[in-house]
Amino acid sequence: MRRGIKRVTNGKKLKVKPSDRSQVLLDRIRHRREQIQDRVGVLEDSARLIRQERESRF
């Protein structure tokens, strides 16, 4: 499907609004995050991982 085109209804192509695309993206991100949480629980803080990495370069 071409980007920006939602579906064909009665021969008419309906454009996907940017707000729809954003909502789809947000829903996908939330869904994946919840799936990961169900599988492995709450993860260690990313801030700590990134801090360790920044300091290890020192």
Partner: protein, 140 residues
């Protein structure tokens, strides 16, 4: 603007994920602007790789899917090469690494807040650089 720690929290189940999601939501619904140096792309990619390599319960497919969505978000990115000089000046004046200073230099440049989830950064620099704000204080 945001740093890599905040960006990742929107995608992963961890402390303050809901705050990061609100920030992302506000941006994608055009309620606020988000800026970042391109360094964010490397730091988030590296942290995701590390999580999969260290066996934190995330597969390589998980982290690749997360990264694909992360780079889809139309953040306003700025090239580090344009920030490096100012970042070095800040690093020297604050006695702090250039990596953090790149984010700070961009915040100075844009005259905006830097939202981070890095408590160590806030503790060390927010006194002198009051535009640095912890994600926990963000309520959109």
């Amino acid at each position: 603007m945001l740093d890599a720690s905040v960006a990742l929290k929107g995608f992963l189940p961890e402390p303050l994920s809901s705050s990061a999601e609100r920030l992302l939501n506000g941006f994608l619904k055009s309620k606020l602007n988000l800026h970042a140096p391109d360094l964010l792309l490397l730091e988030t990619g590296n942290a995701l790789w590390k999580r999969s390599a260290l066996g934190h319960g995330l597969s390589s497919a998980d982290v690749q899917a997360i990264y694909r969505d992360l780079v889809t978000i139309p953040l306003n990115f700025y090239p580090s090469e344009q920030l490096a000089g100012a970042a070095l000046d800040l690093a020297i004046s604050q006695n702090h690494s250039v990596y953090d200073a790149v984010y700070c230099a961009l915040a100075v440049n844009l005259d905006c807040e830097l939202i981070t989830a890095d408590s160590a950064l806030v503790s060390k620099l927010a006194g002198n650089l009051p535009f640095i704000r912890h994600l926990s204080t963000f309520n959109a």
